[in-house]
């Protein structure tokens, strides 16, 4: 992780319990951090997701290396803190085509918009969904309640 420590000397580094590196970068430098990892051989995007901390959202981008000769290469998780409403961030799906759907899902579930995404639509929920973004902690389902099914009385 030295290449990241050189470029981001004052960023916050943490290590997961299983040895993965985690770096918290400011929003403006997200693109730079992703490109640095890409150039260092982290060409595999495992997942893009977010965490809702009630006061802010944290975007997590997990990048990994695919090198058949290497054993035990751990992932890098790039984290960015974003506001809970109207968050926008650079899309990495041009660099990592595999992140395309993960970013769509993050938009669908958390409402983070990805600038420059080639197909920025909802993915798991219907296109005309009005209820908000379900994985936010304050999400409430405002759809009308469905009537309860009447239990049949078999023992008669």
């Amino acid at each position: 992780m030295d290449f990241l420590k050189e470029r981001f000397p004052d960023a916050q580094f943490t290590t997961h319990v299983n040895g993965d590196t985690e770096i918290l970068v400011p929003r403006e430098r997200y693109e730079e951090a992703v490109r640095a990892c890409y150039d260092a051989g982290y060409k595999y995007c495992s997942v893009v997701s977010a965490i809702d901390w009630q006061d802010r959202l944290t975007l997590v981008t997990s990048l990994a290396r695919i090198d058949p000769a290497e054993v035990g290469a751990r992932s890098i998780h790039i984290k960015v803190d974003l506001p809970r409403t109207g968050a926008r961030i650079w899309s990495i799906s041009n660099l990592y085509p595999g992140a395309n759907w993960h970013e769509r899902e993050t938009y669908d579930m958390y409402g983070i918009r990805f600038e420059g995404h080639p197909n920025h639509r909802r993915i798991l929920l219907p296109d005309n969904w009005q209820g908000g973004h379900p994985l936010l902690k304050d999400f409430t389902d405002r759809r009308p309640k469905r009537p309860r099914l009447v239990r049949h009385r078999f023992a008669e």
Binding site: H16, Y44, V47, S62, N100, W101, M109
Partner: protein, 372 residues
């Protein structure tokens, strides 16, 4: 195509544009099976999430349980020491599960291409493994067998058998099945489908995925290895006890549908090798299957963990965030099938409609895992 087309392996809709017989554009439409697994697990305690993980990839349920359970155990650090015997039982079950999952992947792909016999044969052989699972866990499809800190119960008496079992095809022991698999099932698949000329015409040179594309599109599992990248998380990022076991990684050459098929078929043989080693170890080493001091209410310390394992379809990973309470603060399920479906717009254009079915079969999607 879809969402209820018999060859889409679930409720998947493929929007395609055609130019005569040729497909010029393809886009999958998913989300019909979305069951809010991630939202639900925020409202459950840690052990209560295990049955939900079964239902994401319902054809490889034990592998999902293994991923989630190991992720939570990592959060606890050294507080929970899983006994060796439980680790071996987990790997044994996971590899048997991989065989069932690959058998179904191969059988259904063959049936999509018009061969019904292999599909029936695959069900016949899967039944034997499911009977073994039923004796061990009580369930045939959704097991809820793994626990945080071990497994629910030890293997029942007499299920391991001896390496000489298997002469009789109706043998009910695990050794009996493995010997039956090595001497009948694997050569049968090889001769019946893989060597079949019509099957080869339908799959060779169809849906070619180069190694660079495979890595860029986050492919994993048989799709990545079919393209010639020798990458297996069991070898390259060893978890559980895989670093003590001997097995090889089969790799394809061209990255077409046939190679992905062939990689799955060879992987079943490697899984049977792993199962044999586990059986030998388990027969000699009795012991407990649960960690001694697992608290009744599981409250892992604050932290985050991202645990990746090699599932039946590729990299299954689980991002668990703990805030110190009894419920997970967040669970993110990274499923290989969701990521692999992105390949359809890349692989399909230029081929015929009938080839869509071959390509979809070869990337082996499970819609429960796509939509979670």
């Amino acid at each position: 195509m879809g969402p209820q087309h018999p060859s889409t392996h679930g409720v998947l809709r493929l929007m395609v544009k055609l130019d005569g017989e040729q497909v010029t554009w393809c886009e999958p439409d998913v989300g019909y099976l979305h069951r809010c697994f991630e939202k639900l697990s925020e409202q459950k305690t840690y052990p209560q999430v295990i049955p939900y993980t079964d239902r994401t990839d319902y054809l490889a349920a034990l592998l999902n349980e293994q991923c989630y359970v190991e992720a939570v155990e990592k959060l606890f650090g050294d507080a929970i020491q899983v006994p060796e015997r439980a680790l071996y039982i987990r790997v044994l079950m996971a590899e048997l599960q991989r065989i069932t999952s690959h058998l179904l992947a191969l059988g259904s792909m063959a049936m999509d291409l018009g061969a019904v016999t292999p599909f029936l044969y695959c069900w016949r052989d899967r039944e034997k493994i499911y009977s073994i699972f039923e004796r061990i866990t009580g369930g045939r499809m959704l097991y809820n067998y793994l626990r945080i800190g071990g497994v629910r119960n030890d293997l029942p008496e007499g299920i391991i058998g001896t390496p000489q079992d298997g002469e009789d095809k109706s043998d009910k022991t695990i050794w009996g099945f493995i010997n039956y698999f090595d001497s009948y099932v694997y050569p049968e698949w090889d001769a019946l489908v893989t060597g079949n000329r019509i099957f080869q015409y339908r799959t060779k040179g169809i849906g070619v995925l180069t190694p660079e594309q495979a890595v860029a599109y986050s492919a994993s599992g048989a799709v990545l290895r079919g393209s010639g990248v020798k990458w297996d998380l069991r070898k390259n990022l060893p978890y559980s006890i895989y670093d003590r076991l001997e097995f090889d990684i089969p790799v394809g050459q061209n990255g077409d549908c046939f190679d992905r098929w062939w990689v799955r078929q060879e992987e079943m043989l490697q899984s049977s090798r792993i199962v044999k080693q586990c059986l030998q170890w388990l027969a000699e080493n009795p012991g407990p299957v649960m960690a001694p001091k697992v608290p009744r209410v599981l409250k892992p310390p604050k932290g985050e963990v991202y645990h990746r394992i090699e599932g039946a379809r590729g990299e299954v990973a689980c991002y668990v965030v703990s805030d110190g309470s009894a419920n997970p603060y967040k669970v993110k399920w990274r499923s290989p099938a969701f990521t692999h479906l992105q390949l359809m717009p890349l692989l399909v254009p230029g081929h015929k409609i009938a080839d869509i079915i071959a390509i979809l079969g070869s990337i082996d999607v499970v819609l429960g895992e796509v939509d979670r």
